[in-house]
Symmetry: C2
Subunit: 257 residues, 2 copies
């Protein structure tokens, strides 16, 4: 919509800021991140060497598809949108990375060009761990390698589940699958569940246009499958949703039942 011109806002700070932050503070921040859990104190210290803190304004781009990414990134605050740009100008969202999560391991490990683009979907703070330092640490610390292997494996499995959702034959089934998927993550039993990002971005993750996603949600609410409140929703009968995901239904106008 808008020229890529980053909008320096709030404090008037410059965007894409490689703020020279004391290393000690970076260490401290890293230690609080979920993805660094189980890393020894010395481990964190070694990785923090050559690490930088990055500040991104909303909509600002960190790197582009095809870039040789030189660092492993950790989201300290805000949210990053990882996506593949499509020829028609739209995009397919791969992942929405929130606080405490990292991204970019595969590219760094294999030293391959990144297949996706990274843009801040909110004002964000990141920590960038130098690729060389990270790879060295992986080589020298079996425990870290093992842990990372598990992490990447998990991410691959998650990606396959995303593919499963996108492969559903109808938009209704895709959304139903996605909502069910959300519950398994959120762990909140019968509580309301909040959409973890803008509807636009979620739609792009499901391989749907924003409009269809909106229509499907409206339809599901109208049919009583979900209760819709802004960008949160509640579900009374999950098995009903389950059957929707499996079977689908016509979704015509004036539907009864």
């Amino acid at each position: 919509m808008e020229p890529a011109e980053p909008i320096s806002q709030s404090t008037g700070n410059i965007t894409m800021n490689f703020m020279p932050v004391p290393i000690v503070q970076i260490q401290e921040t890293m230690a609080r991140m979920a993805c660094c859990e189980g890393w020894g104190r010395d481990q964190v210290a070694r990785l923090a060497v050559g690490a930088r803190q990055i500040t991104l304004a909303r909509k600002e781009r960190l790197f582009t598809k095809g870039d040789q990414v030189q660092a492993l990134h950790i989201v300290v605050s805000g949210q990053m949108r990882l996506f593949i740009p499509l020829p028609n100008g739209s995009e397919r969202v791969i992942s929405l990375v929130g606080r405490g999560e990292s991204f970019g391991e595969p590219c760094v490990i294999r030293a391959e060009a990144c297949p996706y683009e990274a843009v801040a979907s909110k004002n964000s703070h990141l920590i960038a761990i130098d690729a060389l330092v990270y790879r060295r640490e992986l080589r020298q610390t079996p425990a870290l390698a093992e842990q990372t292997l598990s992490l990447v494996s998990g991410r691959l499995l998650r990606t396959l589940r995303d593919i499963e959702i996108c492969a559903q034959p109808s938009s209704l089934q895709r959304v139903a699958h996605y909502l069910i998927h959300l519950r398994t993550l959120g762990a909140a039993k019968d509580q309301e569940i909040r959409l973890p990002a803008l509807k636009r971005d979620i739609a792009a993750k499901l391989g749907l246009s924003q409009e269809t996603f909106s229509r499907v949600l409206a339809f599901m609410a109208q049919q009583g499958f979900i209760r819709l409140k802004g960008n949160a929703f509640g579900v009374d009968d999950w098995t009903l949703l389950q059957s929707l995901a499996s079977a689908g239904c016509p979704m015509e106008a004036g539907g009864n039942n």
Copy 2:
């Protein structure tokens, strides 16, 4: 199409055969597999403990979506089709695993339910390495863990590229992307390229019906983008294909140019 009933054919052998093969032979076979390259002799020997050889007839199922897979599998001969079954009876192919390749690492490593189903797309021979043995070996051999980390990372990157292909807005662009993608793998310069599997399976990997895949190929041949011969094809001008992948085109009947 057909009841899941496995059809014992050809030699009249029993299907899903856990043939009791001498361990020495298994070791020997493993050593010749591409995915075991760089594994030490002793490494192979340790992994071969508790390994089995499995014989599968075409169409026979190895495991189903949701199974707790208890082994890492290596394809010795034949081809395995990994796919997600869809509610309408069709399937989305995740990967077509050929000779010398392995599959199932993520599930084994994380001890999670497998998100896909594995069926032999040809008569096949596999080696199954016990999950416990494999995990122990991973823990005790940093070099193996490191290598596996690289392998899984590469597989994740490949999966993302697959997503990119499936996310293309039109069927023409999907196929164009896929054909280009094939060249980068095949490495064969200006030679003919053979489709690595049945058209039906490739279509399912691209998220297309068999019919549209056929139509698209026919269209591209008719328009002179490719030369089509059975399930091999040649390309004169790759940049032309590239532009097709990026821009797309109407694909109406009676097209000129």
